[in-house]
Structure formats: C-alpha cells, structure tokens
C-alpha cells in the first residue's frame, strides 16, 4: 500500500461528485467533507438527491464524475469500516425470515462467500438486538413487526457491522416517538465512541437538537458545516425556496433567533 492517502483525516471526503438519471442531474458538483466523530444530518427538499448522495458514496449508484474517500481511501478498499442502513421501504418485509436472521445478515460481509453463521455470529446479532431493545422479538417473523421495530432491526444489522462510519437513510421516517428516541440515543452513543454517523433526515425541527454537523442539499450543496453555523433561515430558504412556507416558518425564525442570542 504505497498509494498516498487522500484527505486521511476526514471520515468522509466527497469531491466534485456528479450523478445523473436520464441525463438530468440528480447531484451536481458536490463537495462534502465530514470530520470523524460527528453526527451529521443531510437535509434538503424532496428530490434534492439526499439518498442518492449516500448511495453514490457507497457505490450503489454510478457517478458521472468526482471521487469519494473514507479516511483517505476509496470505499471499495475498506468496506468493513462502513455500516449502512437503507430505507426501510426498500425491502419487502414479507420475506420469510426472522428479526435475528436479518441482523445476522450484517455479518455476511465478514463471513465471506462460504462460511455459515455460527454461535458467535448469533451471539453478536443478539447483542445488537439487545442494544436496540428488540431482544425479546428476535424470533419474530419480520412481517409481524411494527414499522418502528423493523427500523430497529435494520439499525441492529448495521450495529453488528462494527463500523467506523455509519450511513443511515431516513431512519426516523414513519417511526413512533419511542423508536425515534431510541435510535437517536444509540446514534449518540456511537458518536461518543468516536464513530462518525451520517443521516439522511427529513425533519427540520429536530436537526438542531439531534445533530452537530449539517449538510443542506438541493442537487448542489447549499451549505455545510457545524449545525450552529449552517442552520440559518437564509440557508434553509435557499434550499427549500417556496416550500419553506409549508414548513412552519415561525419555528425556524424562532430557532434562528435563539441561535443569534446564544452566539
């Protein structure tokens, strides 16, 4: 490994990333850096390319230009350091399997092609289910779980990956308040352990209380950096345009005013 590392001190470094679908740009000229040990949110209006950004970082969507490194190396060179939670709606939950089995799938990368999960893998999966408060439902058929419980199973599957950088695609979408709180607690614990957590988030109201790093996206990067500097009414208006009116403007302005008085 004589290749010099590119931006090794950044957990995630995205440069000039461009993704298009049917020759329409979905992401255009994205430069995005996340330092290690933060909990970062990616927000933006519908169609801003939030999920696409995560997917192209993970190589699930081909990019037209640009490059991505994690701790200075391309993703392909250290997948083990990355955990991924796709959108809950991206799979068919009627698949014949149990919660424990889904969590065990998080270890398939480590097991490789031929090795079968054994007792050690089962124990690790149980421990992850325990962390998300689902140990008592480990044998439950996944279609019989509530939306919030399914989301926790997905989170547990990422936890067994023991990664350094976690990507989560709308983990708080359509879950109950208890689950949302549980998820945020776990993500905070990960961050406090020095992991980097990058979350596609849809709820602007909670950005300031949950996250410490923020990317505002609308096909292009609108703003990025520490939440306290980036979460401003001006930036949000630039990203959401007219839609901001729909999003309870009063509370943003109040939040923004709060911030001014804090600083």
């Amino acid at each position: 490994m004589t290749m010099p590392l590119h931006e090794p001190y950044l957990a995630l470094h995205v440069e000039d990333l461009t993704v298009s679908y049917h020759s329409k740009p979905v992401l255009w000229d994205i430069d995005f850096d996340v330092p290690p040990g933060v909990m970062a949110a990616i927000v933006g209006p519908n169609g801003a390319g939030k999920s696409t950004l995560i997917k192209s970082v993970l190589g699930l969507v081909p990019s037209m230009a640009g490059h991505v490194t994690l701790f200075g190396r391309p993703y392909q060179q250290h997948r083990r350091r990355v955990g991924y939670v796709p959108q809950r709606s991206s799979v068919d939950w009627d698949f014949p399997t149990t919660a424990l089995d889904v969590v065990t799938m998080g270890l398939y990368g480590r097991l490789g092609w031929l090795r079968r999960p054994g007792r050690r893998e089962r124990n690790e999966a149980m421990a992850a289910l325990e962390m998300v408060g689902m140990a008592h439902l480990s044998k439950r058929q996944i279609s019989e779980l509530s939306g919030g419980q399914q989301q926790r199973v997905f989170l547990a599957r990422a936890l067994v990956q023991q990664a350094d950088v976690y990507f989560l695609d709308e983990p708080m979408a359509g879950v109950d308040a208890t689950t949302e709180r549980a998820i945020v607690d776990i993500l905070r614990r990960l961050r406090d352990d020095g992991k980097t957590v990058i979350v596609v988030h849809h709820d602007l109201q909670t950005v300031r209380s949950y996250f410490d790093w923020l990317l505002i996206l609308n096909v292009r990067v609108i703003a990025q950096g520490p939440v306290s500097q980036v979460y401003t009414a001006e930036n949000l208006r630039r990203a959401y345009g007219g839609q901001i009116a729909l999003l309870d403007e009063a509370s943003f302005l109040a939040d923004a005013a709060d911030k001014t008085s804090e600083t």
Binding site: R79, Y84, P96, T98, Y108, P117, A177
Partner: protein, 383 residues
C-alpha cells in the same frame, strides 16, 4: 387394482416419466422460491415462452431431435430474453411489466414462426417438435434423464454453495451491494438458473405452462412457513409431489396429457394452501377477523357502560337496554349476556317505585377493571 398399480410402477416409460417429474419438481421448486421472493414470477413466464425459438433453432442446427442441443438452444434464447428485459428496463424508460410483455410476445411469436417453418419442410425427423409447447412426457428417454439430472444437480449445488449470497440479494440487494457482493452477477446467476429450470421442464410440461411450475410450489410453500430454509425444502417437496401425481394420473387414464395434469396437481396444492394455511390462509384470516369483530363488540359495549358511569360520576350507574341498543345501533343484548357470563356486568333490578324498565345493566368491579385495561391499551396504541 394392485396388479394394475404394480404393472404401472414397473412400466419402463412411466418410470422415466416419474423420475423426470421428480427432477423437474425439485429444481423448479427450489429455484422458484427465489424467483417468487424477488417478485420475478413473470420473468419465469417470459423466459419459458422465450425458450421456444431456442428449441427450434437447436433442432435446425442439429438437424434431428437431439435433446442436448435443443436444451442448449432453449437455455440460450431464454437467457437472451432475460438479458433483453434487463437492457430494456435499464436503458429505456420502459417499465418492467411492459418489457416482460413485449419480450414474451416477440420471442414466442418468433418461436411459432420457426416451428411452422420446420413443420412445412416435411422433415421426417421433426415429428413432435410441437410437443415442446405443452410437453410430452412419454417421449422422455433415459438419456434425457441423465441430462435433466445433471442440470438439477448443478443448480442445487450452486444454491447450497451460494446460499447466504442468494438469500441476502433476494431480501435486500442494496445492502448486499454495500457489503461488496456482486449483486449484478448474482442476479444474473439466479436468472440463468430459472432458465435451467425451464430447460429441465421442456419435455415434461412444455414452454407454455412451465411458469406455473416455477411459481406455484413456491407460493404454496410460503403459505406454510416463514423461514426461507423450510420454504425451499417444502417447495421442492410440493413440486415433486405435483410432478409425480400428475404423472401417475395421466398413466391411470391413458390419453390425458401429463404436463397439464402436473400443473393442475401443483395448482391444487396452491389452492388448498391459500385457503387453509395457518396465519396466512384465507380461512384463518376470515376466522380471526370474525373473532376480532366479536371481541371488539364486547369491548365496545363494556367501555360504553364505563363511559356512562364516568359521565354520571356513579360507578353503580345503571343503563337501560334501550339506551345501549340505540347507541350501538341494535343488538347489544347477546354481547351483554356474554359479559354477564364473564362477571363483568350485572342485570340488576332497580329500586321499586322508579319508573322505566325493571332491570338495568350495571358494571361489576371486574367490569370496571377490564374497561380501564381496554382504554389503557387503546391509549398506548395511539401514543
């Protein structure tokens, strides 16, 4: 009758047919599970129809009815069809259902044209090529069985070896890709394996009905289990059962086509499974719906009594039958009787001299506790 059966079972042709049916049920049952779970049942249909031009091309190349070359041709055009569908859905704006329909029609039409062309040539060797449309099990030779067995063994071996990867890519392909599994390759292998199942079924059930052989056992098996491992085994068993019973039925009544009988046998299992399977069957669902409605009704009547008592600030508040009937829109008496049997309400005589009906409904302490528990649970669901 016994003698008949013995004669049947030692019959050389029937033995071949039964072995063929078992192989077909095995391979299509196992591979069908993955096709169904990946929502690709119709892909199987398209690929089996698309095998027809391959059968004809194989015949034209070989010049005789050489089953090896015919199978290779079927595998080739079946896979080609899948590839065309993949390209169409990726490169153009065509949606999957439209792409499937178009590719199926084009390939099948091309196959029929080739078939009629061959038949028009008056080649003596072409005899019975149209049997590949609906299958002609009796024409199976022992040598064909070796080929079918070989294909089945290869397919099952691959499934056993790549089990984890197939399972993951069927459930969550995005996550599989993020772990570094080559999803496109695995997709391709699973698709080619469906083409292999189709090839095994060519002579037994033919290209037109083959899709049912891929879909039906898996659908039936899914009804009875919620573990992929069990589902695959069960699906194979159902496939083999359908194959053998179809073969035996057609032997008992000469003149009836084996292929369609196999499909009907498998379909019978599907119908029974859809109707009767625990948890997922329609009967089960109907019963639990009915039970739920009944329970809801008791609970509803009970909480109404509770709310009335709360409203009047009197735990012993007595409600008239007519009032409860009006509130619920008729017929609470039977529900109240049930609640009475459980000791949750009482049919109590009112104090003498009070106007109105002589008996009224009053909650017991047990009834109050139960009503509070129900309302608590409701509140939790809303939270």
């Amino acid at each position: 009758m016994m003698a008949d059966m013995t004669a049947l079972l030692t019959d050389y042709t029937l033995q071949s047919v039964i072995i063929g049916a078992v192989l077909l049920g095995l391979v299509s049952g196992v591979l069908g599970c993955f096709a169904v779970l990946r929502h690709q049942g119709l892909l199987g249909d398209t690929m089996s129809h698309a095998a027809l031009p391959g059968v004809c091309l194989g015949f034209l190349i070989a010049g005789t009815r050489d089953i090896g070359i015919i199978m290779a041709g079927a595998l080739f055009t079946g896979t080609l069809a899948a590839l065309v569908i993949l390209l169409l859905t990726r490169m153009s704006r065509l949606k999957t259902d439209a792409a499937l329909g178009i590719v199926l029609s084009i390939f099948f039409a091309f196959g029929v044209v080739l078939l009629t062309y061959i038949q028009g040539q008056n080649n003596a060797a072409q005899g019975g090529l149209d049997a590949f449309l609906f299958g002609q099990a009796a024409a199976i030779l022992r040598s064909d069985l070796w080929l079918m067995g070989g294909i089945t063994a290869v397919a099952l071996g691959l499934v056993a070896m790549l089990w984890k990867a197939f399972k993951l890519v069927s459930f969550d392909p995005e996550f599989a890709a993020s772990l570094g599994f080559p999803v496109l390759v695995l997709d391709g292998v699973l698709t080619v394996m469906i083409a292999l199942a189709v090839v095994v079924g060519l002579q037994m059930v033919g290209v037109v009905l083959m899709a049912a052989m891929v879909i039906a056992p898996a659908v039936a098996a899914r009804q009875w289990t919620s573990r992929l491992e069990t589902m695959v085994v069960l699906s194979a068993v159902i496939g083999m059962f359908g194959g053998v019973s179809g073969a035996v039925l057609s032997a008992l009544k000469p003149g009836l086509a084996t292929g369609p009988l196999i499909i009907l046998s498998v379909s019978a299992v599907v119908v029974v499974s859809l109707a009767l399977a625990p948890r997922r069957g329609m009967l089960w669902e109907a019963v639990s719906l009915w039970r739920g409605r009944r329970r809801l009704r008791y609970q509803h009547v009970l909480t109404t009594l509770y709310r009335l008592a709360v409203h009047h600030a009197d735990p012993d508040y007595s409600s008239e039958q007519g009032m409860l009937d009006t509130y619920h829109g008729l017929g609470t008496r039977s529900a109240l009787r049930k609640l009475q049997a459980k000791g949750q309400v009482e049919w109590r005589a009112v104090a003498t001299g009070e106007p109105g009906p002589s008996h009224r409904w009053v909650l017991t302490p047990a009834g109050i506790r139960e009503a509070e528990r129900i309302l608590d649970a409701l509140g939790q669901e809303e939270r």
